[in-house]
Chain length 206, copies 2
Protein backbone atom coordinates (compact mmCIF):
# COMPACT_ATOMS: atom_id res chain seq x y z
CA UNK A 1 0.00 0.00 0.00
CA UNK A 2 3.04 2.27 -0.22
CA UNK A 3 2.68 3.22 -3.84
CA UNK A 4 -0.43 5.39 -3.80
CA UNK A 5 1.16 8.18 -5.76
CA UNK A 6 -2.08 9.99 -6.50
CA UNK A 7 -2.75 12.80 -4.02
CA UNK A 8 -6.55 12.73 -4.41
CA UNK A 9 -6.69 9.00 -3.69
CA UNK A 10 -4.24 9.37 -0.84
CA UNK A 11 -6.27 12.17 0.78
CA UNK A 12 -9.50 10.20 0.51
CA UNK A 13 -7.86 7.04 1.87
CA UNK A 14 -6.47 8.99 4.81
CA UNK A 15 -9.85 10.54 5.59
CA UNK A 16 -11.60 7.16 5.60
CA UNK A 17 -8.70 5.78 7.62
CA UNK A 18 -9.62 8.14 10.49
CA UNK A 19 -12.88 6.30 11.07
CA UNK A 20 -12.75 3.86 14.00
CA UNK A 21 -11.63 0.38 12.97
CA UNK A 22 -10.87 1.29 9.34
CA UNK A 23 -7.40 0.51 8.03
CA UNK A 24 -5.78 1.57 4.77
CA UNK A 25 -6.94 -1.48 2.83
CA UNK A 26 -10.60 -1.01 3.72
CA UNK A 27 -10.28 2.74 3.16
CA UNK A 28 -9.01 2.08 -0.35
CA UNK A 29 -11.95 -0.26 -0.97
CA UNK A 30 -14.30 2.57 0.03
CA UNK A 31 -12.46 4.98 -2.27
CA UNK A 32 -12.74 2.61 -5.23
CA UNK A 33 -16.44 2.24 -4.47
CA UNK A 34 -16.91 6.03 -4.52
CA UNK A 35 -15.01 6.30 -7.80
CA UNK A 36 -17.61 4.04 -9.40
CA UNK A 37 -20.53 6.20 -8.22
CA UNK A 38 -22.03 9.18 -10.02
CA UNK A 39 -20.52 12.56 -9.01
CA UNK A 40 -23.88 13.75 -7.63
CA UNK A 41 -24.16 10.62 -5.48
CA UNK A 42 -20.71 11.23 -4.02
CA UNK A 43 -21.77 14.80 -3.33
CA UNK A 44 -24.88 13.56 -1.54
CA UNK A 45 -22.77 11.10 0.41
CA UNK A 46 -20.34 13.77 1.57
CA UNK A 47 -22.85 16.51 2.25
CA UNK A 48 -24.84 14.27 4.60
CA UNK A 49 -21.92 14.39 7.03
CA UNK A 50 -21.40 18.14 6.80
CA UNK A 51 -25.14 18.72 7.28
CA UNK A 52 -25.14 16.34 10.23
CA UNK A 53 -22.22 18.00 11.97
CA UNK A 54 -23.40 21.56 11.40
CA UNK A 55 -27.06 21.13 12.22
CA UNK A 56 -27.25 18.51 14.94
CA UNK A 57 -28.59 19.74 18.28
CA UNK A 58 -28.35 18.21 21.71
CA UNK A 59 -31.17 18.16 24.24
CA UNK A 60 -30.55 20.87 26.84
CA UNK A 61 -31.79 18.55 29.54
CA UNK A 62 -30.30 15.12 28.80
CA UNK A 63 -27.75 15.69 25.99
CA UNK A 64 -29.56 13.26 23.68
CA UNK A 65 -29.75 14.27 20.01
CA UNK A 66 -32.78 16.30 19.04
CA UNK A 67 -34.32 18.57 16.44
CA UNK A 68 -35.41 21.11 19.05
CA UNK A 69 -34.22 22.40 22.40
CA UNK A 70 -35.48 19.36 24.25
CA UNK A 71 -35.57 15.80 22.92
CA UNK A 72 -38.67 13.70 22.29
CA UNK A 73 -38.07 11.63 25.39
CA UNK A 74 -37.63 14.58 27.75
CA UNK A 75 -40.82 16.21 26.46
CA UNK A 76 -42.93 13.04 26.48
CA UNK A 77 -45.73 12.88 29.03
CA UNK A 78 -45.70 9.09 28.82
CA UNK A 79 -42.26 8.92 30.44
CA UNK A 80 -41.45 8.61 34.11
CA UNK A 81 -39.31 11.71 34.67
CA UNK A 82 -38.31 10.62 38.18
CA UNK A 83 -36.25 7.75 36.72
CA UNK A 84 -32.99 8.68 34.96
CA UNK A 85 -30.86 6.16 33.07
CA UNK A 86 -27.24 7.34 32.65
CA UNK A 87 -25.55 6.14 29.43
CA UNK A 88 -22.29 6.77 27.61
CA UNK A 89 -23.63 7.86 24.21
CA UNK A 90 -26.75 7.97 22.04
CA UNK A 91 -26.06 4.46 20.74
CA UNK A 92 -26.97 3.22 24.19
CA UNK A 93 -30.20 5.23 24.12
CA UNK A 94 -31.12 3.49 20.84
CA UNK A 95 -30.20 0.11 22.30
CA UNK A 96 -32.23 0.54 25.47
CA UNK A 97 -35.20 2.04 23.62
CA UNK A 98 -35.21 -1.03 21.37
CA UNK A 99 -35.71 -3.30 24.39
CA UNK A 100 -39.09 -1.65 25.09
CA UNK A 101 -38.39 -2.36 28.77
CA UNK A 102 -37.69 1.19 29.94
CA UNK A 103 -40.13 4.04 30.43
CA UNK A 104 -37.91 6.53 32.27
CA UNK A 105 -35.73 9.29 30.83
CA UNK A 106 -32.01 9.41 30.02
CA UNK A 107 -28.84 11.32 30.69
CA UNK A 108 -26.20 11.00 27.96
CA UNK A 109 -22.69 11.55 29.33
CA UNK A 110 -21.05 11.79 25.90
CA UNK A 111 -18.15 9.60 27.04
CA UNK A 112 -16.78 7.86 30.09
CA UNK A 113 -13.89 8.70 32.37
CA UNK A 114 -10.72 7.33 30.80
CA UNK A 115 -7.46 8.59 32.33
CA UNK A 116 -5.40 6.72 29.68
CA UNK A 117 -7.00 8.82 26.96
CA UNK A 118 -7.04 11.98 29.07
CA UNK A 119 -10.81 12.04 29.52
CA UNK A 120 -11.68 13.33 33.00
CA UNK A 121 -14.99 14.12 34.76
CA UNK A 122 -14.97 17.65 33.32
CA UNK A 123 -14.97 16.29 29.76
CA UNK A 124 -18.27 14.46 30.15
CA UNK A 125 -21.70 15.70 31.20
CA UNK A 126 -21.54 14.87 34.91
CA UNK A 127 -22.18 18.37 36.28
CA UNK A 128 -25.45 18.67 34.36
CA UNK A 129 -26.53 15.30 35.80
CA UNK A 130 -25.83 16.53 39.34
CA UNK A 131 -27.81 19.68 38.57
CA UNK A 132 -30.76 17.62 37.38
CA UNK A 133 -30.72 15.70 40.65
CA UNK A 134 -30.40 18.93 42.67
CA UNK A 135 -33.23 20.67 40.82
CA UNK A 136 -35.69 17.98 40.25
CA UNK A 137 -37.98 15.28 41.30
CA UNK A 138 -35.57 12.50 40.47
CA UNK A 139 -36.06 9.42 42.63
CA UNK A 140 -33.66 6.97 41.01
CA UNK A 141 -30.49 7.14 38.92
CA UNK A 142 -29.72 3.94 36.97
CA UNK A 143 -26.15 3.63 35.74
CA UNK A 144 -26.07 1.75 32.39
CA UNK A 145 -22.38 1.93 31.44
CA UNK A 146 -20.08 -0.69 29.92
CA UNK A 147 -18.81 -3.41 32.26
CA UNK A 148 -15.22 -2.19 31.82
CA UNK A 149 -12.75 -0.58 34.19
CA UNK A 150 -13.53 2.81 32.67
CA UNK A 151 -17.25 2.22 33.06
CA UNK A 152 -16.85 1.11 36.68
CA UNK A 153 -14.63 4.12 37.44
CA UNK A 154 -17.27 6.47 36.04
CA UNK A 155 -20.03 4.78 38.05
CA UNK A 156 -17.95 5.10 41.22
CA UNK A 157 -17.17 8.78 40.55
CA UNK A 158 -20.83 9.61 39.97
CA UNK A 159 -21.81 7.55 43.02
CA UNK A 160 -19.51 9.70 45.19
CA UNK A 161 -21.02 12.90 43.78
CA UNK A 162 -24.58 11.70 44.37
CA UNK A 163 -24.31 9.76 47.62
CA UNK A 164 -25.63 12.58 49.85
CA UNK A 165 -28.81 12.98 47.83
CA UNK A 166 -31.94 11.15 48.88
CA UNK A 167 -32.23 9.04 45.73
CA UNK A 168 -31.85 5.39 44.80
CA UNK A 169 -28.59 4.76 42.96
CA UNK A 170 -28.61 1.53 40.93
CA UNK A 171 -26.70 -0.12 38.11
CA UNK A 172 -27.97 -2.46 35.43
CA UNK A 173 -27.38 -6.10 36.32
CA UNK A 174 -24.44 -8.06 34.98
CA UNK A 175 -24.82 -11.73 34.25
CA UNK A 176 -24.84 -14.54 31.77
CA UNK A 177 -26.35 -13.35 28.48
CA UNK A 178 -29.78 -14.70 27.67
CA UNK A 179 -29.32 -17.67 25.34
CA UNK A 180 -25.69 -18.26 26.33
CA UNK A 181 -24.34 -21.65 27.39
CA UNK A 182 -23.22 -21.54 31.00
CA UNK A 183 -19.95 -23.34 30.27
CA UNK A 184 -18.85 -20.55 27.92
CA UNK A 185 -19.51 -17.68 30.33
CA UNK A 186 -16.36 -16.17 31.81
CA UNK A 187 -15.70 -16.66 35.53
CA UNK A 188 -16.22 -13.06 36.59
CA UNK A 189 -19.57 -12.83 34.83
CA UNK A 190 -20.68 -16.18 36.19
CA UNK A 191 -19.53 -15.20 39.67
CA UNK A 192 -21.55 -12.00 39.59
CA UNK A 193 -24.54 -13.90 38.25
CA UNK A 194 -24.49 -16.11 41.33
CA UNK A 195 -23.78 -13.29 43.75
CA UNK A 196 -26.61 -11.15 42.38
CA UNK A 197 -29.10 -13.97 42.02
CA UNK A 198 -32.74 -12.95 41.95
CA UNK A 199 -36.04 -14.59 43.01
CA UNK A 200 -37.17 -16.88 40.21
CA UNK A 201 -40.47 -15.12 39.74
CA UNK A 202 -38.61 -11.85 39.11
CA UNK A 203 -36.50 -13.46 36.38
CA UNK A 204 -39.47 -14.15 34.10
CA UNK A 205 -39.80 -11.62 31.31
CA UNK A 206 -43.12 -9.85 31.62
CA UNK B 1 -31.55 0.12 15.61
CA UNK B 2 -35.08 0.95 14.58
CA UNK B 3 -35.51 4.03 16.70
CA UNK B 4 -33.22 6.52 14.97
CA UNK B 5 -35.79 9.26 14.91
CA UNK B 6 -33.37 11.98 13.95
CA UNK B 7 -33.32 12.62 10.21
CA UNK B 8 -29.73 13.96 10.11
CA UNK B 9 -28.41 10.89 11.90
CA UNK B 10 -30.52 8.61 9.76
CA UNK B 11 -29.28 10.19 6.51
CA UNK B 12 -25.65 9.93 7.59
CA UNK B 13 -26.08 6.32 8.73
CA UNK B 14 -27.68 5.43 5.40
CA UNK B 15 -24.87 7.07 3.45
CA UNK B 16 -22.16 5.21 5.37
CA UNK B 17 -24.27 2.06 5.01
CA UNK B 18 -23.80 2.22 1.23
CA UNK B 19 -20.09 1.53 1.57
CA UNK B 20 -19.14 -2.09 0.86
CA UNK B 21 -19.23 -4.26 3.97
CA UNK B 22 -20.65 -1.56 6.26
CA UNK B 23 -23.85 -2.35 8.16
CA UNK B 24 -26.08 -0.06 10.19
CA UNK B 25 -24.25 -0.64 13.46
CA UNK B 26 -20.84 0.24 12.07
CA UNK B 27 -22.35 3.17 10.18
CA UNK B 28 -23.75 4.53 13.43
CA UNK B 29 -20.31 4.16 15.05
CA UNK B 30 -18.85 6.26 12.23
CA UNK B 31 -21.58 8.86 12.68
CA UNK B 32 -20.92 9.13 16.42
CA UNK B 33 -17.23 9.52 15.65
CA UNK B 34 -17.94 12.38 13.25
CA UNK B 35 -20.18 14.07 15.82
CA UNK B 36 -17.23 14.24 18.18
CA UNK B 37 -14.98 15.91 15.58
CA UNK B 38 -14.65 19.65 14.92
CA UNK B 39 -16.98 20.96 12.18
CA UNK B 40 -14.00 21.98 10.02
CA UNK B 41 -12.56 18.46 10.27
CA UNK B 42 -15.85 16.93 9.16
CA UNK B 43 -15.86 19.38 6.26
CA UNK B 44 -12.33 18.30 5.32
CA UNK B 45 -13.38 14.69 5.62
CA UNK B 46 -16.36 15.12 3.31
CA UNK B 47 -14.72 17.40 0.78
CA UNK B 48 -11.90 14.93 0.17
CA UNK B 49 -14.42 12.58 -1.45
CA UNK B 50 -16.09 15.26 -3.57
CA UNK B 51 -12.67 16.50 -4.72
CA UNK B 52 -11.63 12.95 -5.49
CA UNK B 53 -14.70 12.14 -7.55
CA UNK B 54 -14.72 15.41 -9.48
CA UNK B 55 -11.04 15.68 -10.26
CA UNK B 56 -9.77 12.16 -10.71
CA UNK B 57 -8.50 11.34 -14.20
CA UNK B 58 -7.89 8.01 -15.83
CA UNK B 59 -4.92 7.23 -18.04
CA UNK B 60 -6.04 7.31 -21.70
CA UNK B 61 -3.86 4.34 -22.43
CA UNK B 62 -4.31 1.91 -19.54
CA UNK B 63 -7.23 3.31 -17.45
CA UNK B 64 -5.03 3.60 -14.34
CA UNK B 65 -5.59 6.69 -12.20
CA UNK B 66 -3.41 9.67 -13.05
CA UNK B 67 -2.95 13.41 -12.67
CA UNK B 68 -2.38 13.90 -16.40
CA UNK B 69 -3.53 12.33 -19.65
CA UNK B 70 -1.21 9.39 -19.28
CA UNK B 71 -0.19 7.72 -16.02
CA UNK B 72 3.29 7.55 -14.56
CA UNK B 73 3.71 3.94 -15.54
CA UNK B 74 2.67 4.42 -19.18
CA UNK B 75 5.06 7.37 -19.57
CA UNK B 76 8.00 5.73 -17.83
CA UNK B 77 10.99 4.86 -19.99
CA UNK B 78 12.09 2.29 -17.42
CA UNK B 79 9.08 0.11 -18.15
CA UNK B 80 8.82 -2.68 -20.70
CA UNK B 81 5.92 -1.48 -22.84
CA UNK B 82 5.69 -4.76 -24.72
CA UNK B 83 4.47 -6.52 -21.58
CA UNK B 84 0.89 -5.73 -20.46
CA UNK B 85 -0.58 -6.99 -17.20
CA UNK B 86 -4.42 -6.98 -17.22
CA UNK B 87 -6.01 -6.34 -13.80
CA UNK B 88 -9.51 -5.72 -12.44
CA UNK B 89 -8.92 -2.40 -10.69
CA UNK B 90 -6.26 0.01 -9.43
CA UNK B 91 -6.00 -1.86 -6.14
CA UNK B 92 -4.38 -4.68 -8.11
CA UNK B 93 -1.94 -2.21 -9.69
CA UNK B 94 -0.90 -1.08 -6.17
CA UNK B 95 -0.59 -4.70 -5.04
CA UNK B 96 1.57 -5.78 -7.98
CA UNK B 97 3.70 -2.62 -7.82
CA UNK B 98 4.38 -3.38 -4.17
CA UNK B 99 5.88 -6.75 -5.07
CA UNK B 100 8.66 -5.02 -7.03
CA UNK B 101 8.62 -8.05 -9.32
CA UNK B 102 7.06 -6.47 -12.39
CA UNK B 103 8.53 -3.99 -14.83
CA UNK B 104 5.91 -4.08 -17.59
CA UNK B 105 2.83 -1.87 -17.98
CA UNK B 106 -0.84 -2.42 -17.04
CA UNK B 107 -4.33 -2.44 -18.40
CA UNK B 108 -7.04 -1.75 -15.82
CA UNK B 109 -10.39 -3.29 -16.82
CA UNK B 110 -12.39 -1.44 -14.16
CA UNK B 111 -14.34 -4.61 -13.33
CA UNK B 112 -14.78 -8.21 -14.43
CA UNK B 113 -17.52 -9.93 -16.37
CA UNK B 114 -20.28 -10.89 -13.95
CA UNK B 115 -23.58 -11.96 -15.55
CA UNK B 116 -25.24 -12.24 -12.12
CA UNK B 117 -24.66 -8.51 -11.55
CA UNK B 118 -25.35 -7.62 -15.16
CA UNK B 119 -21.74 -6.69 -15.96
CA UNK B 120 -20.93 -7.71 -19.51
CA UNK B 121 -17.84 -7.26 -21.74
CA UNK B 122 -19.07 -3.82 -22.86
CA UNK B 123 -19.08 -2.55 -19.28
CA UNK B 124 -15.36 -3.07 -18.78
CA UNK B 125 -12.36 -1.81 -20.75
CA UNK B 126 -11.84 -4.79 -23.05
CA UNK B 127 -12.13 -2.97 -26.39
CA UNK B 128 -9.36 -0.56 -25.50
CA UNK B 129 -7.16 -3.52 -24.57
CA UNK B 130 -7.78 -5.11 -27.99
CA UNK B 131 -6.97 -1.73 -29.61
CA UNK B 132 -3.68 -1.57 -27.72
CA UNK B 133 -2.77 -5.02 -29.02
CA UNK B 134 -3.81 -4.07 -32.56
CA UNK B 135 -1.91 -0.79 -32.55
CA UNK B 136 1.16 -1.58 -30.64
CA UNK B 137 4.30 -3.48 -30.01
CA UNK B 138 2.78 -5.70 -27.36
CA UNK B 139 4.41 -9.10 -27.14
CA UNK B 140 2.72 -10.57 -24.09
CA UNK B 141 -0.58 -10.09 -22.23
CA UNK B 142 -0.54 -11.37 -18.65
CA UNK B 143 -3.98 -11.92 -17.10
CA UNK B 144 -3.87 -11.16 -13.36
CA UNK B 145 -7.52 -11.56 -12.32
CA UNK B 146 -9.05 -13.18 -9.25
CA UNK B 147 -9.17 -16.96 -9.19
CA UNK B 148 -12.99 -16.91 -9.20
CA UNK B 149 -15.55 -18.03 -11.75
CA UNK B 150 -16.02 -14.42 -12.84
CA UNK B 151 -12.26 -13.95 -13.19
CA UNK B 152 -11.90 -17.14 -15.20
CA UNK B 153 -14.84 -16.15 -17.44
CA UNK B 154 -13.22 -12.80 -18.14
CA UNK B 155 -9.87 -14.41 -18.92
CA UNK B 156 -11.57 -16.83 -21.32
CA UNK B 157 -13.49 -14.02 -23.04
CA UNK B 158 -10.35 -11.95 -23.55
CA UNK B 159 -8.45 -15.04 -24.70
CA UNK B 160 -11.02 -15.57 -27.46
CA UNK B 161 -10.75 -11.94 -28.56
CA UNK B 162 -6.96 -12.08 -28.66
CA UNK B 163 -6.25 -15.59 -29.87
CA UNK B 164 -5.59 -14.60 -33.51
CA UNK B 165 -2.92 -12.05 -32.60
CA UNK B 166 0.73 -13.06 -32.59
CA UNK B 167 1.27 -12.51 -28.87
CA UNK B 168 1.92 -14.64 -25.81
CA UNK B 169 -1.19 -14.91 -23.63
CA UNK B 170 -0.43 -15.94 -20.03
CA UNK B 171 -2.05 -15.90 -16.60
CA UNK B 172 -0.44 -15.49 -13.20
CA UNK B 173 0.24 -18.82 -11.52
CA UNK B 174 -2.11 -20.27 -8.93
CA UNK B 175 -0.74 -22.30 -6.08
CA UNK B 176 -0.13 -22.72 -2.40
CA UNK B 177 0.55 -19.32 -0.79
CA UNK B 178 4.12 -18.73 0.31
CA UNK B 179 4.30 -19.48 4.02
CA UNK B 180 1.17 -21.65 4.04
CA UNK B 181 1.02 -25.12 5.54
CA UNK B 182 0.36 -27.66 2.83
CA UNK B 183 -2.27 -29.49 4.88
CA UNK B 184 -4.43 -26.36 5.07
CA UNK B 185 -4.41 -25.65 1.32
CA UNK B 186 -7.68 -26.48 -0.43
CA UNK B 187 -7.72 -29.37 -2.90
CA UNK B 188 -8.20 -27.33 -6.06
CA UNK B 189 -5.29 -25.03 -5.24
CA UNK B 190 -3.06 -27.92 -4.27
CA UNK B 191 -4.06 -29.78 -7.43
CA UNK B 192 -3.13 -26.81 -9.61
CA UNK B 193 0.12 -26.42 -7.71
CA UNK B 194 1.11 -29.94 -8.67
CA UNK B 195 -0.16 -29.68 -12.23
CA UNK B 196 1.72 -26.43 -12.85
CA UNK B 197 4.91 -27.43 -11.04
CA UNK B 198 8.03 -25.53 -12.09
CA UNK B 199 11.76 -26.38 -12.22
CA UNK B 200 13.23 -25.88 -8.76
CA UNK B 201 15.75 -23.27 -9.86
CA UNK B 202 12.89 -21.14 -11.22
CA UNK B 203 11.08 -21.24 -7.88
CA UNK B 204 13.82 -19.37 -6.03
CA UNK B 205 13.02 -15.71 -5.49
CA UNK B 206 15.65 -13.61 -7.24
Amino acid sequence: MDIISNRLIEDAVNEFGRLPGIGKKTALRFVLYLLKQKPEDVEGFSNAFIRLRNNIKYCENCNNITDNELCEICTSSKRDHSLVCVVEDIRDVFAIENTNQYAGVYHVLGGIINPMEGIGPKDIKVDSLIERVENGDIKEVIMALSATMEGDTTVFYIFKRLKDFDIKFTTISRGVSVGDDLEYADEVTLGRSILHRIPYENSLVK
